[in-house]
């Protein structure tokens, strides 16, 4: 609410203005939110949609948006881009309303949709020039640079390109005006691993230059690599919002032990142990808590082999999802 009134501060006078100026100076110290989503709801009849989605994306961060297919990732993104209009709730980008100020906001947004479609009978060059013509700046140089990085032939007809190459056109098209906010909706589908790598490097570079990135995906490993924070969305609702580091550092260790003799099923059933699987000589479990307690426990039994791993996000995520489901039931 405070921020909304600040936006209209120009018309206000006197004391109010002073207070607001002080507030804005104070706010400048904090990181500014590039995207602010408040209770955003979109319903299509009764079937799909999102309900009560709220999150903020800070300036300069890479924000991951994770969830299975049909969870509402694209719906959220399309609402932010005002391709569709929210049923209720609101959102701002760069402090401006997504519906009222949509054209102004979009000057600084680069968007890569999950599936790219272009006009018939156009060369890559023509399409990119057409795209650039909407932005009031010279994008020619950046266009050539990006095409070189992504190994894209500018003279080919788009209709003849493979899915992966079309995606490259989408990448160049989305980045050629050097946007301050990059929105990616499942960007890696169709790209080979090498290109994916180059694309991620490109994104990291843009991020270093100051671009904020909203990255939606159902593949956790790519989010793990790039993102600072993630929102996990399921059936249209945000179920968790967490720093990647916290999510990983939740002190979960994945432990695998092979013992010389068969041990009791409950031997490792101590506090902090989950997903315990005992198969005669082999024991697997996830551990969270003081690592010393489990080490002492291990030390008292003769072992042949031990492996301690950081679980990847996928495992934490699945663990989390399953728990959520169990809780719901």
């Amino acid at each position: 609410m405070v921020k909304n009134s600040m936006l209209g501060s120009e018309e206000k006078y006197g004391n109010t203005l002073k207070v607001l100026v002080v507030l804005s100076i104070k706010r400048g110290v904090d990181k500014m939110n590039v995207i602010e989503v408040k209770n955003l709801t979109k319903t299509y009849g009764k079937a799909r949609g999102i309900s009560d989605v709220s999150f903020n994306v800070e300036q300069g961060e890479v924000f991951g948006f994770i969830g299975p297919n049909g969870a509402g990732k694209s719906t959220t993104i399309r609402t932010l881009l005002s391709l569709i209009h929210p049923t209720s709730g609101s959102a701002t980008i760069f402090g401006k309303d997504i519906i009222k100020d949509s054209p102004a906001i979009k000057k600084d947004i680069g968007y890569l949709p999950s599936e790219v479609f272009y006009y018939e009978n156009m060369r890559v060059k023509d399409l990119l020039k057409y795209s650039a013509s909407f932005y009031k700046k010279d994008c020619g140089k950046r266009m050539k640079e990006l095409a070189k990085i992504m190994e894209l032939d500018l003279n080919r007809k788009i209709d003849d390109l493979s899915l992966g190459n079309k995606k490259k056109v989408g990448i160049v098209q989305g980045l050629l005006h050097e946007p301050k906010l990059i929105i990616l909706d499942e960007p890696t589908s169709g790209l080979d691993p090498l290109m994916q790598h180059k694309f991620f490097e490109l994104l990291e570079e843009e991020n270093k230059k100051g671009a904020t990135i909203l990255f939606s995906s159902h593949i956790l490993s790519e989010v793990q690599r790039l993102c600072d924070r993630v929102a996990i969305i399921k059936e249209g609702k945000i179920i968790k919002l967490e720093k990647i580091s916290t999510l990983k550092e939740n002190n979960y260790k994945k432990i695998h032990i092979e013992t010389t003799t068969e041990i009791g099923k409950d031997y490792f059933a101590i506090e902090g142990v989950t997903d315990l699987v005992v198969d005669r000589h082999k024991v697997d479990f996830l551990f969270k808590g003081d690592i010393n307690t489990v080490m002492k426990k291990i030390a008292t039994t003769p072992i042949v082999n031990i492996g301690v791993e950081e679980p990847d996000l996928e495992e934490i995520f699945m663990h989390f999802y399953e728990k959520e489901e169990a809780y719901e039931q």
């Binding site: 881009l81 054209p103 979009k106 000057k107 479609f117 006009y119 018939e120």
Partner: protein
């Protein structure tokens, strides 16, 4: 301006094909007049012997087919139907195609408002419709003049083409309004062509049954009929006013609904 240019380029090929079609219809139609005119008044007798429903369907009415302007008046109906179909399909497509071809995610994330997009698209389609009309006018003047043995009827041809232009604009804006209004883009063409067919059949029905006369305000095919234009030598004022009202309402609908629209991707 970039969207305008893009639309002109995208529609260039189909416009050329339509223009060739017009050239063919006017050319072959007027060539038949050459044969008919040699038979003298017998063609009018032959037509009068036909059942009245068939006469109405062919749009003969009170036209004197032995004269070049009367005969062109008959041809005019077919040209109007063609031009109306062209305009209706153009209007429906130009609005719906961004969603149909899934290019909406390209165009509408650009820093432009939907109003700007609609204005550019309407501008482009008006220019296309004007080109269609001018080509038809030119073909008509040339061919009518070529087969005409009596006084020049160029002013009548120009008047009729003016009527056709009004019809084109009417169906163009009606169809953009439908395209902006319907939820699913694939329905915009079937609905607009449906409207076209129903209003045409209605105009035939009005010719057959005089008690349906009140319906003539409902169907644009009654607004600029050859027999009236040739008889009066000018447009009927109330139909012109009605046309402009319909166009204004359609344009307004197009803007209002397209701005609020959830793009179907």
């Amino acid at each position: 301006m970039n969207i305008f240019k893009r639309e002109m380029r995208a529609n260039r090929k189909s416009l050329i094909i339509w223009c060739i079609g017009v050239l063919f219809i006017v050319g072959s139609g007027m060539a038949k007049f050459a044969a008919l005119s040699n038979t003298g008044d017998s063609i009018n007798k032959l037509m009068a012997d036909m059942p009245s429903s068939l006469q109405a369907l062919m749009g003969i009415g009170s036209l004197d087919l032995a004269t070049v302007d009367g005969y062109f008046g008959l041809l005019y109906l077919y040209l109007v139907i063609m031009a109306s179909i062209h305009a209706a399909m153009l209007g429906a497509t130009i609005i719906s195609k961004e969603e149909r071809d899934k290019t909406a995610e390209f165009l509408f994330v650009k820093p432009i408002s939907r109003t700007t997009v609609i204005t550019a698209k309407l501008g482009a389609s008006i220019v296309i419709v004007i080109v269609f009309n001018l080509v038809t006018l030119l073909c008509s003047i040339i061919f009518v003049d070529y087969f005409n043995k009596g006084d020049s009827v160029t002013s009548e041809v120009v008047l009729l083409m003016g009527g056709m232009f009004m019809m084109q604009l009417l169906f163009l804006f009606l169809s953009t309004a439908v395209a902006a209004f319907v939820k699913k883009p694939k329905f915009s063409i079937p609905i607009t062509t449906g409207i076209l067919l129903v209003t045409f059949i209605m105009s035939v029905g009005i010719d057959l049954k005089s008690n349906l006369d009140g319906l003539k305000y409902v169907t644009p095919f009654k607004y600029y009929e050859a027999k009236n234009l040739l008889h009066d030598g000018r447009f009927d004022g109330k139909f012109v006013v009605l046309s402009f009202l319909l166009m204004a309402a359609s344009i307004l609908t197009t803007y209002v609904f397209y701005r609020k629209r959830d793009l179907h991707i």
